[in-house]
Symmetry: C2
Subunit: 356 residues, 2 copies
């Protein structure tokens, strides 16, 4: 085994939201100092050694940030390519650009997944309105139009119930390059949080079952109500994606459970909201696992010792937090965001429902 | 239920070591910003919003610190009384002065415990060398001489095997006011980590079994190999101490298991090294529990969902951390201390040995 990055080293995190905040605390537990790069407000900076507040097109700021760091990672996938160019001049970035390039663009991502022989929703590109009829013929309706880039939590999406709805739906995306995705008839949504180390070792957590509301994750439950064969399939799919990308770090892979098996929805090249349950269910949570992976530590084995329900506190949900905290087995995570807004993730709770 | 201290408030922590560091991260999870007061190096400052680096006799610095905080707590009990005077002019301090005054002085502490009807080692004060014969007659030999104040991790202590050793042992304490403590014949050392909220609610964790090496805690194991009646006794003893002090926060109570039942060794008015196992064994760990208690949240119920062995990494032990991390179920906590020194607590690992 090679030695991990020395304790006392500085880890750069692009993005100062809740994922960056929880990554920073995990990095501290492994003895590292964190430096946050975030143009806006940065809850992560409250638990980090340093914060560079600058825009992603401020190349001098990016250069100074990179020079202060021994290693850089990120909490979100929409990092502009010129920023990546500057950072990588001086400092290693994990997960690397390939994972970002694939996951930043829904068309590239779907094409990549299909190329691995994995089942996805039917999809077709829409570069101009003229592509719409062909695309909807390929996917059938109902379908969803999605911008190829910069969508998250249901943003940049529009439903198409019949071919006649298509033009209005596409117009709502304001001319951005898009794809059409056919509906997948599924009984459940699950996700696998998996990690790959710098030595190629792969480790996965037990799949969690996700419930979304208004396009935003509401709860994740482990164990998922899933036959053992599908649990194994889910982990194998995640492992295949990690290996194909020569990936280093934690990834979240979202899957649909259908009568014909698992269909891959999408993956995120980072720690994932649906993996927050690991904070109470596993010895090594997804945040520590990510830092272990990128900093060259041995990976945790992903074993789960408790059953857990993770519940997101969205917008005014956060007003319930003190009464949730009074219930047995409830662990609180607030993100330190100053302002409560509808649809904004303000925190989450992990509820232990029993030993595993 | 009254509302807890509002998220976004600032919590002051006196002391910037590993306990302060883990308290700061727990406070962040509850949405608070932390301000560390620490004259020396401060691993806690790496995960805190602000750090005042000043001495405990710098009353202006203390005043400025207190004014910036909504609530103050501490990670160690040896805070000078004039500092407490200044802090309490503006800002509430939990646990309060009474707990500090009792625990800062071994004689006051033992007298307090005996006054509650709890079993302690036989003890006697030694203010001057002339007190030595009477004291050793009261405790019998072998005995231990300890400075009344400012001792920790075996420092400020000397063994007395026969009355003839007494003078030399006392001389090694360099004239500090001391007490003699008789030996307690015990089969095990255990500790109870318990909390009391601002509303008087008490909650305790399962007692852990402690092994010390060279006067420093080496491992804590839960569950302790202990009959149920003694587990209950241990929790009742802790509860009695908390209530008698009208205490708010987490306390660590160290106990000896003897043929005649439990004997109280000492208590610490703070989170405790022997409670680190709660980080992986409980939904609400001792650090979150302490912040909950002082900030007016409902307490976690202390339920344990995993069996755990906590192992301290002392001095060069820390070199083993990467290989320990490779073992199943091992969670790593490094303290971000720059320099490894013999006897210095550099980190700990929590090993899950099975579901509870």
């Amino acid at each position: 085994m090679t030695e991990p990055l020395a304790p006392g080293s500085t880890l750069g995190i692009l993005g100062g939201g809740q994922l960056g905040r929880m990554l920073a605390m995990a990095a501290a537990r492994l003895g590292y100092r964190c430096h946050i790069f975030e143009p806006g407000s940065a809850p992560a900076a409250d638990v980090a050694h340093a914060w560079t507040q600058a825009a992603y097109d401020d190349l001098d700021a990016l250069r100074g940030f990179a020079e202060s760091c021994d290693l850089i990672t990120y909490e979100f996938e929409n990092i502009p390519a010129p920023a990546l160019d500057v950072l990588s001049e001086t400092t290693p970035l994990f997960p690397d650009r390939r994972a970002l390039e694939v996951s930043q663009d829904r068309l590239t991502e779907k094409t990549f997944l299909a190329g691995l022989g994995l089942a996805t929703a039917p999809f077709a590109p829409i570069d101009t309105p003229a592509d719409l009829p062909t695309a909807l013929a390929a996917t059938a309706t109902p379908a969803i139009l999605k911008t190829r880039r910069f969508g998250y939590d249901g943003k940049g999406q529009a439903r198409v119930m019949t071919p006649e709805d298509g033009a209005a739906a596409l117009a709502s995306l304001e001319g951005a390059p898009a794809i059409a995705e056919g509906f997948v008839r599924f009984s459940r949504e699950i996700s696998v949080i998996a990690a790959r180390g710098r030595d190629g070792t792969v480790s996965a957590y037990d799949p969690g079952e996700n419930v979304h509301e208004d396009g935003i994750l509401s709860t994740t439950t482990v164990p998922a109500a899933l036959p053992l064969t599908l649990r194994t399939d889910a982990v194998l799919i995640a492992s295949r994606i990690l290996t194909a990308l020569d990936y280093v770090g934690v990834m979240g892979v979202e899957l649909f459970v259908t009568p014909d098996g698992l269909v891959v929805n999408e993956f995120a090249p980072r720690v994932h909201n649906s993996g927050h349950w690991t904070q109470v269910g596993c010895a090594v949570d997804q945040f520590e696992q990510h830092i272990r992976a990128i900093a060259g530590w041995p990976l945790g084995n992903g074993a789960r010792h408790a059953n857990v329900v993770m519940e997101n506190l969205i917008g005014e949900d956060v007003a319930r937090v003190a009464s949730l905290a009074a219930e047995p087995g409830v662990q609180v995570h607030l993100y330190g965001k100053a302002e409560t807004r509808p649809g904004r993730k303000m925190g989450h709770v992990n509820r232990v429902t029993g030993p595993a």
